[in-house]
Subunit: 369 residues, 2 copies
C-alpha cells in the first residue's frame, strides 16, 4: 500500500522517536507570540535577502497556477506571517516583471511539530491575505510534503533545535558526560563534538527531506543563530551566556534543595549554533543544493541596549516547555526569578558581548537531478 | 496584489461574518471524538459508494505525482481518517488496475472552521498512514484552496450546518418568526421556506467554491442527513424529534426561571435537512457538476435499538458549543438532565420513528469548462 514511487517512508512517528519543544502557546504575557521581537528583527533584516534571492536566483515557471511556499518550524506566529508576506511580495514582483501578465495563486504551508499550538496559529492568521493557508504537522527532520511540491521553502530560527540531545553527553561513563551544565560552553571538546555530530546528522536529514520536496530550481532561505566568524567560543556569545546562566540558575535551585543535582546532570539543551564553515561543509556533503549565499545578518535589534526583563521573558517563552517537561512546572517561577537576577548582575557584560551573536542566513537552490 | 487570475476574493473573514459551531473538542466523555459512532456508521456504509464511484466515475491522470484529497468539515476525527483511508484505497486500486505501475503520493487536506480543534485532530492522526496531512482552516462556504488543486473532495455530515440562521425567523415582526421553538418542525411553512432559502444560498456558495477548486473530471462525495422520500414531515424524523425535544427542554428551563423566554425565541439551530429533490434542484441550478448518483444509505446503526444515554451524549457533543455560546455554559448540565429524561419518556416513539431518518449520499463530478 505504500507509494511505490518513493522509497522514503512517509512520516511514522513510532519509528522515529524525537523530542519536540514547542514555543509557549497561547498569547499571554509569557507566550512566544508575545516574546518573539528578536526573531522578528531577524525577519525584517532578511527581507532584503529574500527579495534579492528571488530576483536573482529563483527560476520562475510560466505555466503554474499555484506557487507553493512552506515555512518549516513556523511556531505560532506572528513572525511567520510577516516572512510569508515578504516572500509573496518578492515573487509577485518577479512574476510581474518577467511575464507582465497573470499571477499565480499562492498556497502557504505552515509546518511545525505535531504539538505546536496550531489553533492559535490559525486563529491569528491575517484576515486580509493573498494566499491560501494550510497547517502541516510533523517534524521537519522527516518528509512532510509530497515529491517536488514546493517552490520556496523558508526556515527561521528552528534548525538550531536538534532532534534530540546526543546520548553520550548524558552517559556518566562517557568522556563526553556534561556534568553540572545544561549546554556546551565550547571549552569541553568532547561535548561539543557530540553536539556537532548530532547537528550534522539532523541537518543532513533536513536537507534530504527538503531535496525531495522542493522542485528543481526552487529556493530555500534559512535563518539560524550561529557562531560568529573567528575564534569565538560559544560561552562568550549572547546565546552561550544566556544558556550558561540558565544552567547556573538551575544549580542554584539544586543548592536550595528544590531539585536534585542528578536532574540537572540529565538535562541538556538540544541546540547547536553552527559556524558558517560547518554549514558549508554539511551542505556540500549533502550535495542536493547549491549554496547561493551565506552570511551574518545585521539588524537593528542587535544594537538595542540590553533589557533584562524582556530577555528573561523571551528566554522563558522559548524554554518553558522543555524545562517543565523535565523539572515540572512548579520550578518555572523561582527559576526565572533567579535567572532575572543573574541577568541583572551581568548587565554590563551582556550589553557588550551580546553583539557577538551571529544571525546567519543561507540561500540554497535545489540542484537539477 | 490580489491574484488577478481569479475574480473570487480569497477568504476575508471580516467581509463574511458567519457562524461556526465546532463539535466539542478534546477527547473526554462529552467530546465529539468520543461520540460520533452514528456518523462512523454512515462512513462505513459509504465505503461501497466511494469504491464504486472511484471505479466507475473518476478520471485518472497518468502523469500526476500527487493525488490531492480534501475533507470539508472534518471535525476532530476519528471518522475523517477512516473516510480518507477508504478513498485512498479505492484510488490506489484503480491506479493499479489502470496503469499497472507507479502510484502517486497522496496529500490529504483536512478542512474545518478556524475554531475547530485542529490540535486534537493533528495529535490523533494515524501514526501509520499512506498520505501527507495538512489542516486547512476556514469556512467551506468560501474558497479555501487554489484553483483546480483537488482531485477528490469529501464532505460528511457537515453541509446541513447553515452559514447562519435565516434573519427573518428571528424577527418578531416577520410572519416567519419562530416563537417558542429552536428549529422548524415542518408545519410552519414560512419558517421552513426561510430555512430552505438559506440552505439554497449556502449550498450554491459551497458548489461554486468547490467548482473552482476541483479539477475537471474530479469527484466529490457528500453525505448529508436529509428528509426521507415521500410526504414526511421533519418533526416525525429522528433528528426532527431530537431537535423538538431539545427545544422543549430549553422551554422547561424557562419555566424553572433559569433562562428567559426571549433567549429561547432568539435561539435557532442553523441546520437544514434537505430532500433528494431539493438537492437535485440546487445542483442543477449551480451547473458546475453532474450528479452521478444520489440516494439514501442503509447502514447498521439505523437498526440498533434506541439508546437514551448514548443519544443524549451524542446530541450534547454536537450542540454543546452552539448552546453555551448563546445561553452560557452553566445551563448545559441541567439542560441535558432534562433532555435525557425526555428521551426516556419518548423511548417507544424513538425506537420506531428513528428509522425514518435519511442519510443521503451524493456523487458529483466536476464538469469540463
Amino acid at each position: 500500500m505504500a507509494p511505490t514511487i518513493d522509497t522514503t517512508p512517509i512520516l511514522d512517528i513510532k519509528e522515529m522517536p524525537e523530542e519536540a519543544h514547542p514555543m509557549k502557546g497561547g498569547d499571554d504575557l509569557n507566550s512566544y507570540s508575545q516574546n518573539s521581537d528578536y526573531q522578528r528583527g531577524v525577519i525584517d533584516a532578511a527581507k532584503t535577502i529574500i527579495l534579492e534571492a528571488v530576483n536573482q536566483k529563483l527560476d520562475l515557471e510560466n505555466n503554474i497556477t499555484t506557487f507553493h511556499i512552506a515555512d518549516f518550524g513556523c511556531s505560532t506566529g506572528p513572525n511567520t506571517f510577516l516572512a510569508m508576506q515578504n516572500i509573496i511580495e518578492a515573487v509577485e514582483q518577479k512574476y510581474k516583471i518577467t511575464f507582465q501578465k497573470t499571477q499565480p495563486e499562492f498556497h502557504v504551508f505552515f509546518n511545525d511539530h505535531i504539538n505546536n499550538d496550531f489553533n492559535i496559529l490559525f486563529r491569528s492568521l491575517p484576515q486580509k491575505r493573498d494566499y491560501f493557508a494550510s497547517g502541516v504537522p510533523g517534524s521537519f527532520y522527516t518528509r512532510v510534503f509530497p515529491k517536488a511540491s514546493l517552490h520556496f521553502a523558508h526556515c527561521s530560527y528552528a534548525l538550531h533545535w536538534l532532534s534530540k540531545v546526543p546520548k553520550e553527553i548524558q552517559d556518566k561513563n562517557s568522556n563526553a558526560f556534561n556534568k553540572g551544565r545544561i549546554h556546551y560552553t565550547g571549552n569541553e571538546k568532547h561535548v561539543v563534538k557530540e553536539y556537532f555530530g548530532q547537528f550534522q546528522k539532523d541537518m543532513d536529514l533536513f536537507l534530504k527531506a527538503r531535496a525531495q520536496e522542493i522542485v528543481e530550481g526552487g529556493l530555500m532561505v534559512i535563518q539560524i543563530p550561529g557562531l560568529p566568524s573567528g575564534e569565538v567560543i560559544f560561552s562568550r556569545t549572547g546565546a552561550g551566556m544566556l544558556h550558561a546562566l540558565l544552567g547556573s540558575s538551575l544549580m542554584e535551585l539544586v543548592n536550595l534543595g528544590v531539585i536534585s543535582e542528578e536532574s540537572v546532570d540529565s538535562f541538556n539543551l538540544p541546540q547547536y549554533h553552527p559556524s558558517i564553515e560547518e554549514l558549508e561543509m554539511v551542505i556540500e556533503m549533502n550535495n542536493s543544493f547549491t549554496l547561493e549565499k551565506i552570511g551574518a545578518l545585521n539588524h537593528p535589534m542587535k544594537n538595542l541596549p540590553f533589557d533584562v526583563e524582556r530577555t528573561s521573558l523571551q528566554v522563558r517563552a522559548i524554554m518553558e516547555s522543555i524545562l517543565s517537561d523535565h523539572f515540572g512546572e512548579r520550578i518555572l517561577d523561582p527559576l526565572f526569578e533567579i535567572y532575572t537576577k543573574k541577568l541583572q548582575e551581568n548587565y554590563n557584560l551582556f550589553d557588550k558581548e551580546i553583539r557577538r551573536d551571529a544571525d546567519l542566513f543561507l540561500v540554497l537552490k535545489r540542484k537539477s537531478n
